[in-house]
Amino acid sequence: MTNPIQDTPESSNPLDKLLSESGEYIADNGFCARVIAALPPHRQRRSWRAALLGCTLILCGCLAVRALPSLLTTLGAARFGLGTLNIGFLPAWILVIATIGSLVWGALALTTEQE
């Protein structure tokens, strides 16, 4: 005796065969074009860009704020002729430039999304 509950449809049974053969193909008739026309802008890429932008901004911002006092000290010393800009502060300057760059990038990204 066979188990009436099976994991896959059997084809020897006439009813199973009839059921399997009854699913006819439906022609596209412009359906695909209607779906494509109704698609919203691709969200995944935008959210990925926003997340990356946000992370860069936060990271650079935090590091730049941390490095700011020593940078100001160097700037002050340079103004009063007490010394020249120290090469050791280069990474801190890069952070400040990266923060400004991120802000510009963010502004551009927002402009592009609005378009």
């Binding site: 896959t8 059921l19 699913g23 596209d28 779906v35 698609l39 995944q44």
Partner: protein, 176 residues
């Protein structure tokens, strides 16, 4: 050259390629529309509306597709949810009445009808939505019982029972 579903999905996720998504829609539109057409009892306009809604939703949620199931199975799940939401909106279906028989449903056992060969599509009308959905998924679209359970969001045993019950009803109405 034919791309696999995974290739097309990658293209959509990476660059938002609408042509790649269009190819996926072309591949599965017939199965999804056919499935929905049977669930809404032949209302082609309604079935197409729900199918379109489902494909748009799939586009929006494509990043959540992990590839654990076949893309087709995942798509059927979205289509079935879209159908349920639509049915609720139309107040045709309450939150848990998927197993309720449709108003006109009866397992005809009168002697006059028992010998009458009914059209399969007509006989399918006598099934509950849950029975019909399980049979369509497994027989028309070749999903396994496990995949159908995933699509319909019910236990595997429920799918098996619904298929068994549905087939018994069909056998009672069809002379094969």
């Amino acid at each position: 050259m034919s791309f696999s579903d995974a290739d097309l999905i990658s293209r959509v996720l990476l660059v938002g390629d609408q042509n790649a998504y269009g190819e996926l829609v072309r591949r599965y539109q017939s199965a999804i529309r056919g499935f929905l057409l049977k669930l809404v009892r032949g209302d082609a306009y309604l079935a197409d509306d729900i199918a379109q809604e489902a494909f748009v939703k799939a586009w929006e949620k494509l990043d959540t597709f992990r590839g654990e199931a076949r893309f087709q199975t995942w798509l059927f799940g979205i289509a079935f949810n879209a159908f349920r939401q639509n049915a609720r909106r139309r107040k045709e279906l309450s939150l848990d009445d998927l197993d309720e028989p449709p108003p006109e449903a009866e397992c005809s056992d009168s002697t006059e009808q028992s010998n009458l060969r009914l059209d399969l599509a007509q006989a399918m009308e006598s099934l509950t939505r849950a029975e019909r959905a399980a049979i369509i998924l497994c027989y028309h679209n070749g999903l396994t019982h496990e995949e159908a359970a995933q699509v319909l969001d019910v236990p595997l045993g429920t799918v098996k029972t619904n298929i068994l019950r549905g087939k018994e009803k069909l056998k009672a109405q069809l002379v094969l």
